[in-house]
């Protein structure tokens, strides 16, 4: 009985994989979103080899902002890598994120120089004012709070990156004010 269920499951998996492949053996793009073509191009440039895994994930993240399940499955099929290995790499590296970010992002640098010059106070202020810890997004999807290991702007410690703009030598009040301004706009 178990064997039959097992076989049926295998068949189901096979069918779902086959349905994603086109007649040329290449997987179908998950949707007709043009960004998939860019992802496909990266894989092609590296000969669709497993070694292109991290480069391809970088392209997905650059195009879509995060890696969702459809993307991970597509990359696995394109590069002929087990899905487990794709998931493994995507979760191992901090740069990749599996969740979409909010409308605004605030990255607090927690490098050594920023840490001793007040990064913990900045994070505490963010949690007090917006109720989010690092890695979280507010329920209204307005703000994501992230931390960076080191931005390399140690001369400007403590530093924060608010929507790609680096704000150096910043205090909690000024940071919160800038965030409010960003959200209101």
């Amino acid at each position: 009985m178990l064997l039959i269920i097992g076989c049926e499951y295998l068949e189901f998996e096979m069918q779902s994989i086959l349905s994603m492949l086109t007649y040329s053996g290449q997987p179908q793009l998950p949707s007709d979103d043009k960004r998939w073509k860019i992802v496909e191009a990266t894989a092609r440039r590296h000969g669709r080899e497993p070694r292109a895994l991290i480069e391809t994930l970088h392209t997905v993240q650059e195009c879509f902002g995060y890696l969702d399940e459809a993307a991970l499955r597509f990359v696995a099929l394109t590069l002929r890598v087990p899905l487990s290995r794709v998931y493994g790499a995507a979760t191992f590296y901090h740069f990749f994120t599996l969740k979409p970010k909010g409308k605004h992002t605030c990255v607090v640098c927690t490098g050594t120089a920023c840490y001793i010059k007040g990064a913990p106070a900045l994070l505490a202020a963010l949690e007090r004012a917006h109720g989010v810890k690092p890695g979280e997004t507010t329920p209204d999807n307005d703000l994501s709070v992230l931390t960076a290991r080191c931005l390399g702007s140690c001369g400007l410690a403590p530093a924060v990156v608010l929507d790609n703009a680096v704000l150096g030598k910043i205090g909690p009040d000024e940071m919160l004010a800038r965030i409010q301004k960003g959200i209101r706009q």
């Binding site: 080899e49 497993p50 070694r51 292109a52 895994l53 991290i54 480069e55 994930l57 970088h58 890598v81 290995r85 493994g88 790499a89 191992f92 590296y93 901090h94 740069f95 990749f96 927690t110 490098g111 050594t112 120089a113 840490y115 001793i116 010059k117 960076a148 290991r149 080191c150 931005l151 390399g152 702007s153 140690c154 001369g155 400007l156 410690a157 530093a159 680096v166 704000l167 150096g168």
Partner: protein, 552 residues
């Protein structure tokens, strides 16, 4: 590209620059860029164009000038004046007063020890050349060493020069570079690779980024010379994805060098071919470890493997691989150009040359510095760094990041070289140097680094995965005032265990910040445990816990 052709390009470039009466340099490296340096440059260019001085004044975006805390920096090359904290609105003031110098703008004195005590080899072109133009690099002697090496020297001769220079790896451990090159060379004729480790993961370190952003060709030239010496045809630069500007400048540089035939097939008409590709890191500190870095280039999770076999014998895709750090490669071209004796004359007996440091923390002048080996920590902090601001008292300087240690006042006079720093419990490391004053709690700093190692541990070996977590837990207990004397003994035992049994450098060196703070600041640990609280006032829990205990 022959030597003559190279010199012709240099000549033309120098002639073009000479035509301008004034040359205005704007630092557009990451530090100044985040204070709006690009807007300053654009405003200056606009001002020059509008005042019709386009033929007399050249405005050039250049790499890091060093004093990041005073950015954006603008330097007038014709007379050596420098302005600090320049705003875009001040562009007319700068341009109008090119001859006499402006009194209204904030001057940045260039005769202060911050500039005069430095010795620049790796950073010789930083702040002088436009990192996005190969001609500018060539005009400053660039690619001369590469073309000379491949047309006039044998690989053995090149390696001999590096051996005799006494250059040691700048990534932290200080392994003799010449020896590494010899090992890879001796593996015979087969496929080999050269890798540049630009995965600068240490928090508080930005030397490699500055070099890549300010002078990318220097690294490419060093890699190409190394490839010729060891017999490799393919190279990779593994650079952090968090450094977009460095990646951009590198891509441009590779493209330009290929166009001029300084990279690619049959360089300078010889049989030597060398191709360079960029691989982006993805935010894993452990990938700075060489075997983990190789795994990451191969498209896998960046977990290290036991050595031997070392990458020099079995590296990328099982082939012999030479891995050096950015700063190491940046030292290669000047050594070939000026000779090994010139290089070995600088520094101490066992540590030759200079070292680039990212000076940050509680010090007046923060930024990027390059100093000769053997200089004392006191000279770096008090003279170059300008001392501790706000009348605060010095407490410690942290070198080597999460693998290094905290050095107290009593050892400030020890020289900066690989052996001396190791003797006092720290390491040279890649070059992060964070100064701390009395407002920093050393137990908290140790906890900070342990938290870092804990979350960056790849999880492959148990001592590191579980040990860093256990140590972090004990430190957490101490900082919240709940620890006993037994916990301190446990912490020391754990340090010893993890140090002796972890598989790679990350785990083996993770206890270092704890060990050095225990060695030099044991009193602070004790006062957290015995209820006197945290003297720096950082650990709130310890203060509260302390009071309760006293009243009980």
């Amino acid at each position: 590209m022959t030597l003559d052709e190279l010199q012709k390009i240099a000549e033309t470039e120098r002639e073009t620059e000479k035509k301008y009466q004034h040359r205005v340099h704007v630092c557009i490296a990451a530090g100044c860029l985040s204070s709006g340096a690009d807007q300053v440059r654009d405003a200056l260019k606009k001002e020059v164009a509008e005042s019709g001085m386009g033929n007399e004044v050249l405005v050039k975006g250049v790499g890091c000038m060093g004093l990041c805390s005073a950015g954006p920096l603008v330097s007038i090359e014709s007379d050596g004046k420098m302005y600090a904290n320049v705003a875009p609105e001040e562009a007319p003031e700068v341009i109008r007063n090119l001859d006499t110098g402006s009194e209204a703008l904030k001057r940045c004195p260039t005769d202060i020890p911050f500039f005069s005590r430095q010795k620049k080899i790796v950073l010789e072109n930083s702040g002088k050349i436009d990192p996005e133009r190969i001609e500018d690099y060539i005009a400053h002697g660039g690619y001369l060493a590469l073309v000379t090496a491949i047309t006039e020297m044998t690989p053995q001769e090149v390696i001999q020069q590096i051996v005799r220079s006494g250059l040691r790896g700048r990534g932290g451990a200080g392994y003799p570079t010449g020896l590494k090159w010899t090992t890879v060379f001796k593996t015979g004729e087969q496929e080999k690779y050269v890798i540049c480790n630009a995965d600068e993961g240490d928090p508080g370190a930005f030397m490699d980024r500055a070099v890549l952003e300010s002078d990318p060709h220097r690294v490419l030239e060093g890699m190409a010379i190394a490839a010729y010496a060891v017999g490799a045809q393919k190279g990779y630069i593994y650079v952090r994805a968090e450094y977009p500007l460095a990646v951009k400048h590198l891509r441009t540089a590779i493209h330009q060098a290929e166009r001029l035939g300084l990279l690619g097939n049959k360089i300078s008409g010889t049989r030597f071919s060398f191709h360079v590709d960029i691989r982006l890191g993805a935010g894993a500190f452990v990938c700075g470890e060489e075997t983990a870095l190789i795994a990451s280039i191969e498209g896998k999770r960046g977990t290290p493997r036991p050595r031997p076999p070392y990458p020099a014998a079995e590296g990328l895709w099982g082939c012999p691989t030479l891995i050096n750090n950015v700063e190491t490669f940046a030292n290669v071209a000047p050594i070939i150009r000026n000779g090994p004796e010139w290089f070995s004359f600088i520094g101490t007996e066992k540590s030759k040359g200079t070292k680039v440091f990212a000076l940050a923390g509680r010090v007046a002048n923060t930024g990027l510095i390059e100093v000769p080996m053997g200089i004392t920590l006191r000279e770096i902090i008090n003279e170059i760094g300008g001392g501790i601001p706000d009348g605060k008292k010095y407490k410690a300087v942290q070198t080597g990041g999460p693998s290094g240690g905290c050095i107290p006042e009593e050892h400030l006079d020890s020289p900066v070289d690989y052996e001396s720093l190791a003797r006092i419990g720290s390491i040279m490391g890649s070059g992060g140097m964070i100064v701390m004053d009395e407002t920093s709690c050393m137990v908290d700093v140790a906890k900070y680094f342990m938290e870092f190692c804990m979350s960056e541990s790849c999880g492959k070996c148990v001592p590191c995965r579980a040990g860093t977590q256990q140590m972090h837990q004990v430190l957490e207990k101490i900082t919240s005032g709940e620890a006993t004397a037994g916990d301190l003994a446990l912490l020391e035992e754990l340090c010893d265990l993890v140090r002796s049994t972890a598989m790679c450098g990350l785990g083996q060196s993770a206890p270092n910040p704890v060990l050095t703070t225990l060695r030099y600041f044991r009193e602070e640990y004790r006062s957290h445990i015995e209820g006197q609280g945290c003297s720096a006032g950082v650990c709130q829990g310890a203060c509260k816990g302390g009071k309760e205990e006293v009243s009980a």
